[in-house]
């Protein structure tokens, strides 16, 4: 299973984290620090797998962003790499040419999409079309509610 997902940029800034196994807040920061160091220091033409504390981290770099997923030692590494790419494609489709700024300002959207893709550390849906449809449906639910709630909320900071 996937124990956690970490998304960070080349400077090590975290853009998204999602934990499917139980880690305390302290452990989470420690894991992020440790892994960011390992992954950022790896050269460009190396394989996408890092062995780490009896687990395996599958990562891939897209432009300035690193997507990492931590799996069990005997899980299928390439399958996980496919999941990462699948997620990136979905983000790309949603934001139309996704860039880091999209993920910074719309980090919550990145979470919505991830929640449709993964659940309990397992792949939930592999059809991009289905996920796009579900996310769009959620967006419109939020939108409708917002319109109804009038402008009041928007005015107050």
């Amino acid at each position: 299973m996937i124990h956690f997902v970490i998304l960070n940029n080349r400077q090590g800034k975290v853009r998204l984290t999602k934990w499917y196994s139980t880690y305390s807040q302290k452990e989470r920061s420690k894991v992020i620090r440790e892994l960011t160091g390992i992954i950022l220091s790896r050269g460009p033409k190396l394989c996408n797998f890092v062995e780490w504390r009896g687990l395996k981290v599958v990562y891939k770099r897209y432009a300035g962003l690193y997507f990492s997923m931590c799996i069990d030692q005997d899980d299928n590494e390439l399958e996980t790499l496919d999941i990462i790419h699948h997620y990136v494609e979905m983000l790309d489709r949603y934001f139309l040419n996704v860039c880091e700024l999209d993920l910074i300002y719309n980090f919550h959207k990145a979470y919505y999409i991830l929640d449709e893709l993964l659940l309990a550390g397992e792949l939930q849906e592999s059809s991009r079309r289905t996920i796009a449809r579900l996310v769009a449906a959620q967006d419109s639910l939020v939108e409708t509610a917002r319109e109804q709630a009038s402008l009041l909320g928007d005015l107050v900071k």
């Binding site: 139980t22 305390s24 190396l46 659940l119 059809s127 289905t130």
Partner: protein, 1017 residues
Amino acid sequence: MALSGMRGLSVFISDIRNCPNKEQERLRVDKELGNVRTRFKNEKGLSPYEKKKYVWKMLYIYMLGYDVDFGHMEAVSLISAPKYPEKQVGYIVTACLLNENHDFLRLAINTVRNDIIGRNETFQCLALTMVGNIGGRDFAESLAPDVQKLLISSSARPLVRKKAALCLLRLYRKNPDVVNVDGWADRMAQLLDERDLGVLTSSMSLLVALVSNNHEAYWSCLPKCVKTLERLARNQDVPQEYTYYGIPSPWLQVKTMRALQYFPTIEDPNTRRSLFEVLQRILMGTDVVKNVNKNNASHAVLFEALALVMHLDAEKEMMSQCVALLGKFIAVREPNIRYLGLENMSRMLLVTDVQDIIKRHQAQIITSLKDPDISIRRRALDLLYGMCDVTNAKDIVEEILQYLSTAEFAMREELSLKAAILAEKFAPDLSWYVDVILQLIDKAGDFVSDDIWFRVVQFVTNNEDLQPYAAAKAREYLDKPAIHETMVKVSAYLIGEFGHLLARRPGCSPKELFSIIHEKLPTVSSSTIPILLSTYAKLLMHTQPPEPELQNLVWAIFNKYESCIDAEIQQRAVEYFALSRKGAALMDILAEMPKFPERQSSLIKKAEDIEVDTAEQSAIKLRALQQTSNALVVTDQRPANGTPPVLGRVMVPSMSSNVDHHVADQGLSQENGTLTTVDPQPPSADLLVDLLGPLAIEGPPSADVQPQQNIVSGVEGVPNAVEATAIVPVGEQTNSVQPIGSVAERFQALCVKDSGVLYEDPYIQIGIKAEWRAHQGRLVLFLGNKNTNPLLSVQAIILPPSHLKLELSLVPETIPPRAQVQCPLEIVNLRPSRDVAVLDFSYKFGNDMVNCKLRLPAVLSKFLQPIPVSAEEFFPQWRSLSGPPLKLQEVVRGVKPMPLLDMANLFNSLRLMVSPGLDPNPNNLVASTTFYSESTRAMLCLARIETDPADRTQLRLTVASGDPTLTFELKEFIKEQLVSIPTASRAPAPAPPAPQPTSPPAAALTDDPGALLAGLL
């Protein structure tokens, strides 16, 4: 720039981005946190929209790495908002900020349940997602049946059902005891007929979890899995949107094949045939294409197919096809494929007999050892290590040695250890072994542990033909201008013992030997000087007739060190000086060292320990472990009559202190810290006594004694008469089967961690993996047959103490060759007690009937859950529990002295959480924890230790809880831990061997181990 749709949030994010440095960012964050905190305090004035916005801000700040320790309540409360936008935020942020152990989650259970059983589909999805991601035990208890209902409901739409499947998977994985899956086999079989591939993918993941636990129940799913795989592999009836780069859902294919790997075999010939057809198709039909994503996907499927073929132990032809494929992979440029090729080759080594074919790729694998990527190098090293045997050991070890000089620090220790082990296991001749180890020390001295050079000394001492060669080699290294200190130690030792064998060679007169060794003295640390002094004494002794010039030189040195501040050096200097004046008597006292008793290589043991540490849950890794230890040949070194070996004789040659003291006066020489205990383990017939004795007072095997106490034993190698060796031919083996490693030590280790090896002998390895949750536990026994013959009449009976309810699943009567069987064991703690459950395990191998009784590490501390307590909470509680029987106090004597920090660590490892600074006295420790059992439910326990800095062997222990039995048991438990040696592998022997080394009276010990131990001291 896309906007988040919430202006305040966007502005905040922009502000953060504009911060020029980390301090500014922190200031901005603090300001925002202050703002959010104030707004939350005055919750009434907060609109749902605002609340939502602040909760998002909290998540953002949390993601930036700042502690957000408030507002959790607000996030959770949004879950019960009536409108979708707020509810959505509540669910998502809660799932990100909190983990399953968080108390606030319990508050939401009702709302979550209402959402799940309600009619609103979107609410159902949100609730299932959160439970699936962070649901803990409470959720499993109250929601599992509802989730199960949803999964099989005919009215729920696929989007709900696929979430239900994975939500159930989480609940089941975390709490298999709570989720009732009786009769789910049929349901699962139905689910596998599902048309919607989203639901099918999720259901397949669920099936993997279910079959991994109990494949027997799910046989009916097997043909359906094969059908699904066929359908996908032939791309029949797969909607376009479920193909990924032209490949029908690679994920579902992988999952399906994973599920199939949990069935031990496929009996139905038709199903088997169809499956092999599909697998053949995948093996043959996967080509390398340009598109990297397509390649990844198709190879994900291919590697899973390879794993399945290996598991099914297909016909030879298909296997060699697999090896051929892997051979191709390890030669490609693409690093991922190369990595996986190497990894799977290592796995293949474990399951089938393909060593010879794999050996053909040796050159290619060695190339990978020089790859720029450390991940690949690690795989290559592992594979080389696994494929090494007598025929290729020379090549492989030499490659490793060569690589050692350029390898990064992170790998050097592993490399040296592996090289040393291979050299020892497969040495074609012993002089080569000596060469390898000396090279190893030369090239990577810092990474060569003492074990490695102790081992070479043992070999040389025990093999006379080797002695002149080793001495000459040592002499060569001494000529080098700068050598590592370990090299100084080993060569000084070898020259001292065997230098005289070089007598007529040039540059090897005693005086020359002396001066070249003495040159190194100014460069070494105080742990090496004693060895050099022994060498000088030995050189003197071997110089017959005495050379006055050398004598004077050496005496001058002894004189100089007579006033050394280091007691060990001083003692040796004084004693050697006195001895060397005794003339002929010196010859007897400093005669050559006798042969070492044969023993298991501590290196191999160490390597196994390392692997256990890293191999948490992987069955493949566990199998690998067995493979490693397979090569060990164990001899029985236990004296038949059960008396321990006589120590005195072994010690005499170098142990100067024994000349003055009487040999029998062991206790005395022990006290001055120079003699090392040879662990007199009770004979095996008394295993039960040993196991049930609550207190393991026998010292740890002295191989583990700290170096300082070990200087003398260092010279002798590792005195451990009990353990067996790797170099003795099988023929010498006696009848009874002896465990590898100390059973008591393994048990101790498992008391503070949750997985590892419980027992090992030449035939079987019993591993354990445990999960503890409140008053319940689940322990899986991994019974691994290490041999190529089956183990028969396997029997495992649990002898439970009255306070534990234990249920062991069926243990098969036969364990097939090289196979591993998992037996889950459910444990319920009824009430507090220190009694220990015992596993009575027996099997038959050939004519050997082996029976062992093993303590199971279901000890009291496993039912503890550390809990932090603040001063405001602690003191009122502490005061309210006033005096016996709820609060008990005792002065404990005979405590193993340890620094306060170590004691705090010990407590934490026993799940008693130490709160530093809570007690105003820095010599005291305060710890808190929650104990769980059926009778007490969750109960807070507090403990306080007052130590005496002037006398670390005693302390005052106070334990308090709301239950008198618990207080007593916990106090006794802590006491046992303090007086015994829980950190066995590090600690020096705390007590001299008991005067009566046969079974200690267990009953007496139970009464007051502290007092008894104090008496012994």
